[in-house]
C-alpha cells in the first residue's frame, strides 16, 4: 500500500502540474479538495481520467468522485479494491 501511495502522489503531482509540491508535502489523510491541496473541479476530472488510464477503473458515476478522492489514503484503498491494471 505504501508503494501505491507514493506512486499515486507522484502521478497526481504530474498530471495536475503541482510543480512546487513534492510527495512528502502531501499528507495522506488531508483533504485533496477545498483545503489541503486545494484542487478544483478540473482537477477532479483529471483524477477520473488518471484512474481509468493507470488503474483501469472507470467511474460510472462521476459524482462518486467526491467520496473516492477525499484523501490519498481513501483513493489508494479504492484503487486497491477495484483496479484492473
Amino acid at each position: 500500500m505504501e508503494e501505491l501511495i507514493l506512486k499515486l502522489k507522484e502521478e497526481i503531482i504530474e498530471v495536475l502540474n503541482l510543480e512546487d509540491i513534492k510527495p512528502e508535502d502531501i499528507d495522506n489523510d488531508a483533504p485533496l479538495f477545498g483545503e489541503g491541496l486545494g484542487l478544483d473541479s478540473i482537477d477532479a476530472l483529471e483524477l477520473i481520467v488518471l484512474m481509468e488510464k493507470n488503474y483501469g477503473i472507470k467511474l460510472q458515476d462521476p459524482s462518486k468522485g467526491k467520496e473516492i478522492f477525499k484523501s490519498i489514503n481513501v483513493m489508494a484503498e479504492y484503487i486497491t479494491a477495484n483496479r484492473t491494471k
Binding site: V15, L16, N17, L18, I42, L45, V49, E52
Partner: protein, 201 residues
C-alpha cells in the same frame, strides 16, 4: 517581454521558453500555484498583468484576496489564439489505442481563458474578452476598446497584445486604459502602436 527574454533592464532571469515564465513567476508573484496549471498563453497573460499591476502599485500581498470590482475589464488581443494548447491537446489524443483526453489541457483550448485567469486572480467582474486578429492592428484594437468603455460601469481596461505561437515564441505588451483619459481613436491607436513597437526594438 518576448520569446523568453525581458525587454527592459532588471534582475537576471532564466531565458528561453517556459523556464523564463516560471522564473518570472517565482520572482514577482510566487503565491499562486494555479499558475502551473495554465498553458503558455495563460501564463504569459497572467504574468504580463501581474507585472503591470505591480508597476501601478496594485500588487497583492501573499494570500491576499482582492475585493471584487466590476469597473475593470480585461480585453486582450492576439494572433495565434490558443494554437499552442490546441496542438498540445490534439497530440495527446492522436493514439486511438491510448485515448485519454486531458480535461486540464482541453480547458485552455480557448484564448479567452487567459483573460479569465487574470479576472479570477484579481476578482474583476467586468468585461473579459480575447480578440483574435490576423495581425496586430492598433486601429481595430482602439475601436474595440473604446466600444468596451461605453457602458456606465466600466472605468478601466487591462488590455494589450498577448500572443503565443508556441513555447519558444511569444510576446506580450500590456497597458491599463482608463476611461478618465478620454482617448480619441487616433490617440489610442498611436499609443497602442507605441506599446507594440517596443517589442520589435
Amino acid at each position: 517581454m518576448a520569446n523568453g527574454s525581458p525587454l527592459t533592464g532588471g534582475p537576471h532571469l532564466e531565458t528561453g521558453g517556459t523556464a523564463f515564465l516560471s522564473d518570472l513567476y517565482h520572482r514577482f508573484v510566487g503565491d499562486y500555484p494555479k499558475f502551473f496549471k495554465m498553458d503558455t498563453l495563460g501564463k504569459l497573460g497572467f504574468l504580463a498583468a501581474e507585472l503591470l499591476l505591480k508597476i501601478r502599485s496594485e500588487s497583492l500581498n501573499a494570500g491576499e484576496v482582492p475585493a471584487p470590482r466590476e469597473d475593470r475589464g480585461v480585453v486582450l488581443f492576439g494572433r495565434h489564439s490558443s494554437l499552442r494548447a490546441d496542438t498540445h491537446f490534439q497530440a495527446s489524443i492522436q493514439d486511438r489505442g491510448n485515448f485519454f483526453p486531458s480535461p486540464s489541457v482541453f480547458v485552455y483550448t480557448l484564448p479567452n481563458v487567459t483573460a479569465g485567469e487574470i479576472s479570477i486572480r484579481r476578482k474583476y467582474t467586468g468585461e473579459s474578452a480575447y480578440f483574435v486578429l490576423e495581425a496586430f492592428d492598433a486601429r481595430i484594437m482602439a475601436r474595440q476598446l473604446l466600444a468596451c468603455l461605453q457602458d456606465e460601469v466600466t472605468q478601466s481596461l487591462l488590455t494589450g497584445w498577448v500572443d503565443c505561437r508556441d513555447d519558444e515564441h511569444y510576446e506580450a505588451a500590456v497597458m491599463m486604459l482608463e476611461k478618465s483619459a478620454a482617448w480619441t481613436e487616433d490617440e489610442l491607436a498611436e499609443q497602442l502602436n507605441t506599446m507594440f513597437n517596443q517589442l520589435n526594438n
